[in-house]
Symmetry: C2
């Protein structure tokens, strides 16, 4: 996401709890095929900074932390640095229990609503949690882009703005506003279905088209 | 469903806790536009009987009770009358709470699994819970049928048989086996998403096509 935003001409700062520790880790990212340090070396246009510095930098904040880590990451960013900004929440609260993969919360709450409650002056828009990273920024890589991206949120202007970004920058053709932020319960619960589609198709490059 | 099965040449018995009370009720069904008595008068080929009589009658059992009422309805049908039979579970465990519509169970269990645990020798197949009644039996009424029906269950032969019925009798073109019966958690959780699609589109004639 950071690379795709930079590729669209934006100045991107990528936030971490501890940038030096993150750059020292040898985990290979499945999407980039390299470590964060390796990716960063090839992506000098994206600065890797603290969460607070990233939130201070951005006119818009994209939350791509894990669902469970999101509130902590945003608290370390600082509420005053989120005030009035569009906050695009990409996350899913996946948890692995002895009974299998599930989500927490599920059904009567969502990560997006928790973020909105914790940061009431942020303009939270839930989007992009329903597809894998490569499809988020290149929907045409799957079926020529003939599938649907649901979004939701309480701020209609913010949803319109995010929709125009998704359309103009990444080429999404069917961004569907499914309602206020309580719809994030549905949009996150969908992930359980998506995980089965991924297992069935043997690929994370899978999505759904809403037929109406 | 009963009418559509009868229309395909099957002898259908429709089970009720109390057939006489059901026929005396003046509720108008949204799909048929009439009361059960009115529908029954126009559908003499479908007998309305007790749950036990319906289960004894059928080579196959279709559970179209509400999610919350399903275990009770099947217990009144009698475990011995379900033994070895394919049991197609169409239900969703919708509950209306002060926090909004949700499902119970959700995430770590499903109605279909509860039924399977209660009736271990029934061959439970989860199917058709993801679309409204008219679409279940006439998928071509939406986008010419270009959308997907997920199914799941522990018995591969039962899934293949149900898939052939859905294809041959109702014209489903894309029946997608998403796994064993634990996938019913995903297939039921999808309903939360579907309810938002219904609200957004203003029609229950809405579905999704899996793009892979």
């Amino acid at each position: 996401m950071a690379g795709a935003l930079a590729g669209n001409g934006h100045e991107v700062a990528l936030g971490s709890r501890d940038p030096q520790a993150a750059l020292a880790r040898d985990d290979v990212n499945q999407q980039t095929g390299t470590t964060l340090a390796g990716w960063s070396g090839a992506s000098p246009e994206v600065r890797i900074v603290t969460n607070a510095e990233a939130a201070a930098h951005g006119a818009t904040v994209w939350n791509a932390a894990s669902g469970a880590a999101s509130l902590g990451a945003l608290e370390s960013a600082g509420a005053e640095r989120l005030d009035g900004k569009i906050l695009v929440d990409i996350t899913n609260p996946i948890v692995r229990s002895p009974d299998g993969v599930t989500l927490d919360p599920i059904g009567t709450d969502s990560v997006a609503e928790r973020i909105q409650r914790a940061f009431p002056t942020a303009r939270v828009v839930k989007a992009l949690n329903t597809v894998t990273a490569v499809v988020m920024v290149d929907p045409a890589s799957l079926a020529g882009g003939d599938h649907t991206l649901p979004i939701c949120g309480n701020d209609d202007d913010a949803k319109r703005e995010v929709t125009s970004w998704l359309t103009d920058w990444f080429g999404w053709r069917d961004v569907l506003d499914i309602g206020d932020l309580t719809a994030a319960r549905a949009q996150e619960a969908y992930l359980l279905f998506w995980l089965r589609l991924m297992q069935t198709s043997g690929s994370s490059v899978v999505s759904t088209k809403v037929v109406r």
